[in-house]
Amino acid sequence: MKNNQLIYLDNSATTPCDPRVVEAMVPYFSQHFGNAASRNHSFGWAAEGAVDKARKQIADLIGADPREIIFTSGATEADNLAIKGVAEMYKRKGNHIITAETEHKAVLDTCKALEKEGYEVTYLKVSRQGLVDLAELEAAIKPTTILVSLMFANNEIGVVQPMKAISDICVKHEVLFMSDATQAVGKLPINVRELGIHLMAFSAHKMYGPKGVGVLYVSRKSPRVKVTAQMDGGGHERGMRSGTLNVPGIVGFGKAAELCQQEMEAEATRLSKLRDKLETELMKVEEVVFNGHPEFRMPHLTNLSFKHVEGEGLMMTFNENIALSSGSACTSASLEPSYVLKALGLGDDLAHSSLRMSLGRFTTEEEVDFAIKAIRDGVNHMRSLSPIWEMYQEGIDLDAVEWSEH
């Protein structure tokens, strides 16, 4: 491995565009540049045809009908459209929404915005492994509940929620079920019909497609779901999302979906093997805590806390060669450690000490081997600098120390 090589282990943040995706997109910038809404000339038809093809590629990936695919600018917009759109459309039925503490900010902050408008939101707690409690979910449903929004797979710890079981509860109580599946689509086999998901948000750039394009799946039958548009304009996407379609982005999304469908199984097998190697080797380091669920999890991701070492400092020991994420406050804009890890019941100290490593289509075994060594060396180095590691080794009970909080 060359010293100047950069290893990307942050595929849950974004993935590189697959070259085959880029190749599919290129003609739609200058050659077939038409507006997909131009119904009366061949430029428009070419664009519309390309969008239709992509719509089908994406629908096929998730077991939906192409007419159920609404294109957006990304998963954040799709989450907003789903939650605010349902809240507005069904407000005569009720004003209560259920979600969980470990959801992405795109869901949590959307719910908070609705609370300000008078909606009521229940934030379910999760177990130490990150799963919601189904009995708690059912108990939270009231006559005024209109929507349950629970993510498919968590972005920080990769835990996969029991979608079918959640849907069964929602269907029993005639409540709509929406899922932010940004981390799962293209990586896990998903059939929205079989799983009973009524609305689902996801985005291209997490599955080797381009940035700036997302989808909201909206079920057309049993149940027939409608969302109130959140943007006024030309009435594109069946009136649910106005705005000229991002044709090259959508074409890329379609191609990315097709590739994921073809390669998902082999890729998941390969990545889970590499991930397991990375995890097993790093768990051999003293005082490492695994964050997440050992069984219900994404194949490409692991999240570990290296006790008595601060995540951002640790990352600085190898970030010239390796890119990954930490739950440390120092890496977040808010200066708060990861709320997801805290929701699992981790203390702030363990959240500060966490690293998330997410592998992807282009990760090689050689890179994983390099990362294992670099991360181990980094942990050892940081521990040699850490006063609390020294105290721990001297047998001092760190919980009993009176720290000067600042």
Partner: protein, 128 residues
């Protein structure tokens, strides 16, 4: 976030990492911060009892790159200073020297606190 070369140098090659014998009468120890806050600094000074000059300084820090660099720099500055000179080290001097970004200013504050706390410990031990 791009850090200054000086900061990176202190991070990669920290000066004066280690532990002094805190039981010794001429050693002052400052332990500030908390694991929950993401940074803990332990800074120690050893004073030459005849001249009153800091003859050695050591640190260990749990924290981000800026916290480690700030404490490494502080130990360098402390050596050869009198207690009074050491007490006048201001966190903004550290900010300027390392070009700390605004979100990292608290690391320099922590270093100043650690210096003051080490001095206080020494003075309490040696109070007549």
């Amino acid at each position: 976030m791009a850090y200054s070369d000086k900061l990176l140098d202190h991070f990669k090659h920290p000066k004066n990492v280690g532990t002094l014998d805190k039981a010794k009468k001429n050693v002052g120890t400052g332990l500030v911060g908390a694991p929950e806050c993401g940074d803990v600094m332990r800074l120690q000074i050893e004073i030459d009892e005849e001249s009153g000059i800091i003859k050695d300084a050591k640190f260990k820090t749990f924290g981000c790159g800026s916290a480690i660099a700030s404490s490494s720099l502080a130990t360098e500055w402390l050596k050869g200073k009198t207690i009074n000179e050491a007490a006048s080290i201001d966190n903004m001097d550290i900010v300027e020297e390392l070009e700390l970004p605004p979100v990292k200013i608290h690391c320099s504050v922590l270093a100043e606190d650690a210096i003051k706390s080490a001095i206080k410990d020494y003075q309490e031990k040696n109070a007549k």
